[in-house]
């Protein structure tokens, strides 16, 4: 048994994507099977297996995925970002307001959304990297600011982006086009770019190294502040991107919300094998983690439970994943 496991771990393919990721993919199939069996039993007769369910789960996976990709960079540097959910909503509110009330062109509003995210990321990054504030506190504070700014800008009104048939609705094609999941393609593309940045560029190398030992990196003549700040900027920017995919799927955004998505995005990261202690991160893991989070929420709703169960499960997943991470690190020492 032990030997067989070791042999499996040594397979080329398993080594390439990591054992943890293989397990997660298996979990996706298990969850899918589980929901397929239980849904008809609990909701007499209704079925889990249909195309709409898949698309609906993917809709959720996109924006959680983008948020997760962003926060992966921050966690890689040894920090944390609790502001991404509200920042995403703030971006969607401001850009949506510009689109619907000021009739600005759609492409420009998308740009605004991303810029708002980047701005929040830069502010957070500045305080963490240059002013040495704990990232926990900084992002908590920015979370409040983002919630407030979104509300103020829209005068506490919710914002509804144009529906499918309206003019200026091509942003919805980013999510779904002729019933094809374009969003998934874009998520994979962005994830690929993130992977290149994290593993193949100097920026990514520095971020990972400073997550492991910041002083050693600084004493190697590297301006650690700049690279640390960059991680937060990426996180914010990707929250701005996530906003477009959120409205692309759900059209309406309400002010003052968004914090539950932080936890789900962070859950996706830690599940995927990104260590909360910094220094090691997995982009592929984050994407798979986001899919698991989304599938879970779809399954819970399909089985007829309320969304509150999702919160409980997300919380438990974070506890479980971080415990597993800490235990594996202990074992290695």
């Amino acid at each position: 048994m032990k030997a067989a496991l070791q042999k499996f771990k040594n397979l080329r393919f398993v080594k390439l994507i990591g054992f943890n990721r293989v397990v997660l993919i298996l979990i996706i199939f298990l969850m899918y099977g589980f929901f397929t069996i239980l849904t008809p039993i609990l909701r007499n007769g209704s079925s889990f297996v249909n195309y709409n369910r898949v698309m609906s789960a993917l809709n959720y996976a996109y924006f959680i995925g983008f948020l997760g990709l962003g926060v992966t960079f921050v966690i890689a540097t040894g920090g944390i970002d609790f502001s991404i959910g509200p920042v995403m909503f703030c971006s969607a509110l401001i850009s949506g307001y510009c689109l619907t009330k000021f009739n600005l062109p759609l492409w420009f509003c998308i740009f605004i959304s991303i810029a708002v995210g980047a701005l929040f990321g830069s502010i957070g990054g500045y305080f963490v990297a240059f002013r040495h504030l704990p990232s926990f506190i900084t992002s908590m504070a920015l979370m409040q600011v983002a919630k407030g700014v979104g509300s103020i800008f829209t005068k506490t009104q919710s914002v509804t982006w144009p529906a499918a048939e309206a003019t200026s609705s091509w942003y919805r094609y980013l999510v779904k086009w002729n019933n094809l999941p374009t969003g998934f393609v874009i998520l994979c593309l962005v994830a690929a770019i993130c992977a290149v940045v994290l593993y193949k560029t100097r920026a990514g190398r520095y971020m990972l190294c400073l997550g492991s030992n910041k002083e050693a990196v600084r004493l190697s003549g590297v301006d650690t502040r700049r690279w640390e700040m960059l991680a937060y900027i990426l996180s914010g920017t990707l929250a701005g991107v996530a906003a477009i995919f959120y409205v692309g799927a759900y059209t309406t955004v309400q002010p003052g919300l968004g914090d539950t998505f932080n936890n789900e995005a962070i859950a996706a990261c830690v599940m995927g094998g990104t260590s909360m202690a910094g220094g090691s991160a997995s982009i592929l893991g984050t994407v798979i983690g986001a899919i698991i989070v989304a599938l879970m929420q779809e399954g819970i709703l399909a089985m007829g439970f309320t969304i509150s169960y999702q919160y409980v499960l997300t919380g438990l997943i974070v506890l479980g994943a971080v415990t597993a991470d800490i235990m594996s690190r202990k074992r290695r020492n």
């Binding site: 990972l208 492991s212 050693a216 290695r332």
Partner: protein
């Protein structure tokens, strides 16, 4: 010989890609100091970690105090009386000495911690060891040597029978080492079994009764210290005799230009009015006692700490160095003495660590790293320094202490800096590898680089330096050409209070 207290036999331990221990045996008697020697990565620390339950063993048996044992955690080993004094001390600086010694088993009165009782108990321990430390002092205010003595006191307070020292002397001053030895002798008389790991040959000769030599995870053999010479031990360790001889004359031409000039540098309490010059192709040794301000001087020059005043000139031109980044841009490299804290990035592999200081050089278009090139250079330095590892992708945290040091050395060698500041470059490095590093340093200066070498090992200073600067309490107290320098002169200058 005395009664045997500990027998390890046929111990086997593998890590992925490394057969760290291959049928290793070790026997320790009561009232003996048993040295464990071997090259970096030979398996010494691993053997001790297996003994104390930090690692589980794959095979083999351990008989301790007449019983077969198998500890599954250091706590169990400690309870049974086997304690390890690590090189990296695990002390809480903000607690008092007594609180540290009794941490986890505080004396209490009701719900309250009874500090007075703990202080008394600690004082009693110190009296046993014949050392003078105030139990009420904050741990963080003690010198490394004193902290280590507290660690020893803590060990014997656990009613230990076997005490393991893993490279205890690496961070100690000579007087502190003297004191450590005195305590070890006390312990020996009290019939403790002591395992002593060190790379310093003269210590082994001084303090130990027997030596067990390990090589590549195997036991080579055990010698009785008094009956064997240094050369015998070294030959057993590395398979050849190493010839050491001090430099007698400076190799720097008289007209070599000054590449680095530091004038009236002040930084904190430990750097007072320091001025010196470094010339092209020179190895400038910085000698002095631990805490003399040499590291602080280096850090200030390098921009790691803030300078209060003073000027730095490179090739005659005044430069502003406010951060390590500025320093590296000016062609200065600084290898820190504290490799765990300031040197290695433990969770990254050898390649990533080796190119950290000069990653810019390996960047192609669009910030992408040319991994073929960096792997090639890393491989070259792993070979040159004989770093023991299953591959260059090995995480640095899985390397032995000495091999981690080689990775940090490689980082600065690869960086191609013109001025290198090496702070205790051979700390924890075995005799054979030391030789390689010395040769590389000589090669570097021949190529026209310049090196400042801070070292607390007198033989190293005398062997490598062209010129020697001695510091004491933050000031430069003497400067010698290697031709006129002697151990005695240096010691005098190092202990003199203020420059004449």
């Amino acid at each position: 010989m005395n009664e045997v207290i500990l027998t390890m036999e046929g111990i086997d331990k593998s890590f992925p890609g490394v057969h760290a221990l291959d049928h290793v045996s070790l026997e320790v008697a009561k009232g003996e100091v048993h040295a464990l020697m071997g090259e970096n990565g030979a398996g010494k620390s691993t053997l001790m970690k297996v003994l104390t339950g930090i690692y589980s063993r794959d095979a083999g048996s351990i008989v301790y105090d007449g019983r077969k044992v198998c500890f599954s955690s250091p706590r169990e080993a400690q309870a049974a009386g086997i304690v390890i004094v690590h090189q990296e001390l695990n002390m809480m600086g903000h607690l008092t000495v007594a609180q540290n010694i009794f941490i986890g088993r505080e004396h209490t009165r009701g719900f309250l911690i009874d500090d007075a009782q703990m202080n008394d108990a600690a004082r009693q321990l110190f009296r046993q060891l014949n050392i003078d430390i105030d139990p009420k002092e904050k741990m963080g205010r003690l010198t490394v040597g004193k902290q280590q003595m507290c660690e020893i006191a803590k060990a014997i307070s656990h009613e230990a029978k076997v005490i393991i020292f893993d490279e205890p002397s690496a961070a100690l001053t000579d007087t502190e080492i003297e004191q450590l030895f005195r305590i070890i002798r006390v312990l020996r008389n009290k019939q403790y079994g002591i395992v002593y790991i060190s790379h310093r040959m003269d210590e082994i000769k001084q303090i130990t009764d027997r030596v067990t030599v390990m090589r590549d995870g195997k036991t080579v053999g055990t010698l009785i210290t008094a009956q064997s010479s240094k050369d015998d031990i070294v030959r057993m360790m590395v398979g050849r005799v190493i010839f050491e001889k001090p430099k007698t004359v400076s190799h720097v031409p008289a007209d070599a230009p000054v590449v680095l000039k530091v004038a009236n540098l002040n930084a904190g309490r430990m750097v007072r009015d320091v001025s010196f010059e470094l010339r092209k192709g020179e190895i400038l040794g910085f000698s002095g006692l631990m805490g003399a301000g040499r590291t602080e001087t280096a850090r200030a020059v390098f921009g790691a700490d803030i300078k209060e005043s003073g000027e730095v000139f490179i090739n005659g031109k005044k430069v502003q160095i406010h951060s390590p980044q500025d320093a590296v841009r000016e062609g200065i490299g600084y290898l820190s003495e504290d490799r765990k804290r300031y040197g290695v990035v433990l969770k990254k592999n050898i390649v990533e660590n080796s190119t950290l200081a000069c990653l810019r050089r390996y960047v192609k278009r669009g910030d992408l790293i040319d991994s073929t090139a960096e792997r090639k250079d890393t491989t070259a330095y792993v070979a040159a320094l004989k770093t023991k590892t299953p591959g260059i992708e090995q995480l640095v945290m899985n390397l032995s202490g000495g091999n981690q040091q080689k990775v940090v050395v490689a980082k600065w060698l690869i960086s191609n800096s013109n001025i290198l500041i090496f702070d205790e470059p051979t700390r924890g490095i075995d005799v054979g590898a030391k030789q390689e590093i010395y040769e590389l340093m000589n090669l570097l200066v021949k190529e026209g680089k310049s090196i400042i070498m801070i070292s607390s090992e007198m033989p190293e200073i005398l062997r490598m330096s062209d010129r020697i600067i001695v510091m004491c309490e933050g000031r430069i107290t003497a400067e010698f050409d290697v031709a006129e320098a002697t151990q005695e002169k240096i010691m005098n200058a190092a202990t003199r209070d203020i420059a004449v």
